[in-house]
């Protein structure tokens, strides 16, 4: 999935205050490890998503630094304690500096 990078999110649209909810993320990316060689024997340069950040209303809640050992189309799931309504924003940073973004609103009652 190298032609364009598309994130997917699975987050409940609403939650009760204090509830711990699961957040699942998936993004299309080759995660070229830098260890492979092409048909001519030349090493294919490393190109991975090296950083993933999740913020809630602008404040960082979870971050991951990814290495070439992460499989293609990185899947990351984690949890969040629902405290307030607002926007969950996600950013994936590529080795080439590109940042792929996605966000979703959540209503906390």
């Amino acid at each position: 999935m190298a032609e364009d990078v598309r994130p997917r999110l699975k987050i409940p649209a609403s939650a009760k205050k204090g509830e711990v909810i699961e957040i699942k993320t998936l993004v299309s990316h080759q995660m070229e490890s830098g260890q492979r060689k092409d048909k001519d024997g030349k090493v294919i340069p490393r190109k991975i998503i090296n950083k993933f950040v999740c913020t809630m209303n602008g404040k960082e809640v979870f971050r991951a630094d990814l290495e070439p050992a992460i499989a293609s189309n990185p899947f990351i799931s984690f949890f969040l304690k629902a405290e307030e309504s607002g926007t969950l924003a996600f950013a994936w940073t590529d080795d080439d500096g590109s940042v792929y973004r996605a966000e979703q609103k959540i209503t906390v009652t």
Binding site: M1, E3, R6, R8, K10, K24, L26, S28, M31, A71, S72, N73, F75
Partner: protein
């Protein structure tokens, strides 16, 4: 026969009969016919069970977007003729490969999509294994999920089916193995660390952990052929097309699982 006997003996040395599947969930078999799902590990099944966990849906989303995107000189999209795929494509994927009434030729779903593009949309054909073709094929076949595989093997399809059957039972490559040697004679046995499945195609295109990508049934055929040290046929070849039909017919009645997740 000698090689066959040696092959079976060698498998017997390392084989464990797969009896661990007694508690298999329903919906993945049709009598003695078993989907590859029932040969997958719990972690791999888990990845297929939830559409979000299944990375194949990255391609499905791509296919869904392409469905209604106008391309080509005719200014049409798939949706221009077929409207909403969710209703118009229901059951379609389960009946492919299928003989095209106009040309009398056998087409698989990939080729059917490309024919629509070149004939009706006057657009370029999409390349095999491209995101676009895999995406559209998977999106269309997804609309038949849960429906039984139902391919025609008589009438105009008969000659193709016979050709595919002959391919399936012909030994090939340096190892001299036919498709049937693994997927019929030794289904459910271990080939070293791998549990041999029936080689059913009801979950294709499939996301393979090894590929870390979605891929077509014909790509899988190429892999199988390389592993018996045979020269693989090109994607879209008549040999693989006929084989697709025969393999689909072996799984007649199995529910479509596209897009599945396999090792």
């Amino acid at each position: 026969m000698r090689l066959c006997a040696i092959f079976l003996a060698c498998l017997a040395c390392v084989a464990l009969t797969a009896s661990a599947h007694a508690g298999d969930p329903p919906g993945h078999s049709a009598g003695a016919k078993k989907s590859g799902y029932l040969f997958a590990s719990p972690a791999t099944r888990e990845m297929q069970d939830d559409d979000f966990n299944n990375p194949a849906f990255l391609w499905v989303e791509k296919g869904e977007a392409l469905w209604s995107r106008a391309e080509g000189a005719a200014g049409k999209s798939c949706a221009s003729c077929h409207n909403d795929a969710k209703s118009s494509m229901r059951g379609v994927g389960a009946s492919y490969p299928k003989v095209d009434a106009k040309s009398g030729k056998l087409l698989d779903l990939e080729q059917r999509i490309n024919l629509c593009r070149t004939d009706h949309m006057q657009a370029t054909a999409l390349a095999w294994e491209s995101e676009g073709l895999l995406g559209l094929t998977t999106y269309v076949k997804l609309q038949s999920r849960g429906m039984p595989v139902n391919v025609q093997i008589d009438g105009p399809a008969k000659a193709y089916w016979e050709k595919g059957k002959a391919f399936y039972y012909a030994r090939r490559g340096q190892l001299g193995l036919a498709c049937a040697n693994c997927h019929e004679d030794n289904e459910g046995h271990m080939l070293r660390a791998d549990l041999l499945s029936q080689g059913q195609s009801n979950g294709f295109p499939t996301y393979r952990l090894e590929w870390q990508s979605l891929g077509s049934l014909q790509k899988r055929f190429q892999g199988c052929n390389s592993q018996v040290r045979a020269e693989p046929y090109p994607l879209g070849s008549e040999e693989y097309l006929a084989l697709e039909l025969f393999v689909a017919s072996r799984g007649q009645g199995l529910p479509i699982e596209t897009p599945s997740v396999r090792k």
